[in-house]
């Protein structure tokens, strides 16, 4: 826009076209726009590009990086031992996403159709554990699931068990931890999606003699698909790359990609291979995000 200086009289047509042109041309605004771009470029995009670069390099003799180009790190990604970890991560993330959708939908429906007053209270209740320290919340499951933990003691006291089950450090405990950690990510987009479905549509279905289940199948579920997609992406991505949950609840035998990457970087000190794994994870995530993630961010007609 031209003429963003002092004269206020000549500008009504300008403000119609571009109503914030004035504030955005203020010097501090420009300065922060430039420095924020520089910052994210330097400490977000550059590091990610570096991951790709290092993934094509070779491992040095003592764990450093030797800049000899090779595909070897990517070939190792297809090693059966690595494949097991990769597929466990995909499977656990997929199962977590599915169960979050099944379990989260009824809650999301109640939230979306509650009165304003209750909606605010319930939303806050869903949000609170979500922003509570993830490490601490996962640790709570260690207390519940371990051999002398709450669950085993309870079951033994009730006479249902003679000796404790080994629940901790299994795929099951990792799965429970993931669902627990990421359920709110599914519920909130679903609430937004269901709120946009007019209750009159539900009434119309009932007027046409739909049963509760019929209405659910033919009206509610199909119209909630944007919410499922957005929530699915928001649950699947962090589950796939989870570190704390598989580390604390999965132990050494039940590694996922996150724990495996950490081990390659900090224990095995094989940065090129760790980078190849990271880039594989990043590629999967970015693909999903650009294919499906749009629905979660840009559908904002309000």
């Amino acid at each position: 826009m031209v003429g963003t200086g002092g004269n206020g009289l000549a500008r009504p047509s300008c403000t119609m076209l571009n109503n914030l042109s004035d504030t955005s041309s203020a010097f501090p605004v420009k300065l922060s726009l430039v420095s924020a771009s520089l910052f994210l470029g330097l400490f977000f995009f550059l590091p990610l590009i570096l991951v790709f670069g290092v993934s094509l390099a070779s491992r040095g003799l003592y764990g450093g990086i030797t800049w000899i180009a090779t595909w070897e790190n990517y070939q190792r990604v297809f090693d059966p031992l690595v494949g097991v970890i990769f597929f466990r991560s995909l499977f656990l993330a997929g199962l977590t996403t599915f169960i979050c959708a099944v379990v989260g939908f009824p809650l999301a429906y109640c939230l979306a159709r509650a009165s304003r007053h209750w909606q605010l209270i319930l939303l806050t209740l869903v949000m609170i554990p979500f922003w509570t320290n993830f490490l601490v919340r996962t640790y709570a499951w260690v207390l519940i699931l371990r051999a002398d933990g709450i669950l085993n003691s309870l079951l033994i006291r009730l006479g249902l068990l003679d000796e404790p089950l080994s629940l901790l450090f299994t795929d099951l405990s990792v799965f429970v931890g993931l669902v627990y950690g990421y359920l709110p990510f599914m519920v909130l987009p679903l609430v937004v999606a269901i709120e946009r479905i007019s209750p009159q549509l539900e009434d119309a279905a009932f007027d046409l003699y739909a049963s509760m289940g019929g209405m659910f199948r033919h009206v509610l579920l199909p119209l909630s698909i944007p919410g499922f997609l957005a929530g699915g992406v928001l649950v699947f991505i962090p589950s796939l790359g989870a570190f704390i949950t598989p580390y604390l609840l999965g132990g050494g035998q039940n590694m996922m990609l996150g724990t495996f990457i950490q081990q390659e970087f900090l224990v095995a000190r094989d940065w090129p291979f760790g980078s190849a794994l990271s880039f594989g994870l990043m590629g999967t995530v970015l693909l999903l995000w650009f294919l499906l993630g749009r629905t979660s961010v840009e559908k904002d007609p309000s």
Partner: protein, 266 residues
């Protein structure tokens, strides 16, 4: 429309129980006198007393608060201006900017951690407070921008137009109209960023150096080396503090955007 199916209500209650039971158990156990295991051996405050005396934990808490304050403060200074600057772009550009902006919030944290670690090590940057603050700003900055933009979009442009028609300069409009109108969102973003930074483990874990132990790092090493009831007490304190921060931030955001759950889920 008041026929909420009973099965849905029962399901919702069970889910709420699932979300809250572990936290309640954790807080309950922090008052347990037993030194080993989970069997109830009577009520005690002794773990909290031990906690208050623990010099290392105190130090880690101070580190965490300092890092959270600095990274959130810097993110606010850069983020608010950026959000205002971005609001004028065309609609199509806007959606791309959004997609790119939320990427640091979307990609798994471990990727951010290892990527930053490599950059810092290859550039021979000393790992410590500086690198942790940079790491936290990588997610705090987009968080601030997203929240402030959500509020900006709901502002009536007539406020700024009116100020301009009355001869206000761009500086006047910014400081006397736009920023005051954004105040609730700025507070909300600040509190949320502060909480996220205070709680962050994964990125911190990778970019921290000796002498810059934060509270989550301390908790992690305590969990790893052995389960003492002191961790339960520490965890309980952290849970309560997070709840207070989030409650406040949520309240502020609700006041600014009464009709939307949308701005809050990112």
């Amino acid at each position: 429309m008041k026929r909420m199916p009973t099965s849905f209500i029962v399901m919702s209650l069970l889910v709420m129980l699932f979300l809250y039971l572990p936290v309640v158990i954790l807080i309950g156990l922090s008052f347990n006198a037993s030194t080993m295991g989970v069997a109830w051996k009577g009520f005690t405050f002794q773990w909290y007393e031990k906690l208050a005396m623990d010099q290392a934990i105190l130090e880690a808490t101070v580190n965490s608060v300092v890092i959270a304050l600095v990274s959130t403060g810097l993110a606010l200074i850069l983020g608010v201006g950026t959000a205002i600057g971005l609001e004028t772009r065309q609609e199509t550009q806007r959606s791309w900017v959004n997609m790119i902006l939320v990427l640091p919030l979307v990609i798994p944290e471990i990727l951010l951690g290892v990527a930053l670690l490599m950059v810092f090590v290859l550039c021979q940057v000393h790992l410590g407070f500086g690198t942790i603050i940079i790491g936290h700003m990588v997610f705090n900055l987009p968080l601030t921008i997203v929240i402030v933009r959500a509020r900006l979009r709901k502002l009536d442009p007539a406020w700024e137009d009116a100020a301009r028609d009355l001869g206000a300069t761009s500086w006047d409009v910014l400081t006397r109209i736009t920023l005051p109108l954004l105040r609730p969102a700025i507070w909300g973003a600040g509190l949320l960023g502060f909480t996220v930074s205070l709680d962050d483990f994964v990125v911190t874990f990778f970019v921290a150096g000796p002498g810059s132990t934060t509270l989550p790092l301390k908790v992690f090493s305590m969990i790893r080396t052995g389960m003492t009831p002191e961790i339960n007490a520490l965890s309980a304190v952290m849970v309560v503090v997070s709840m207070l921060c989030v409650g406040l931030s949520w309240f502020l955001q609700q006041r600014s955007t009464p009709a939307s759950a949308e701005s809050s889920y990112l």
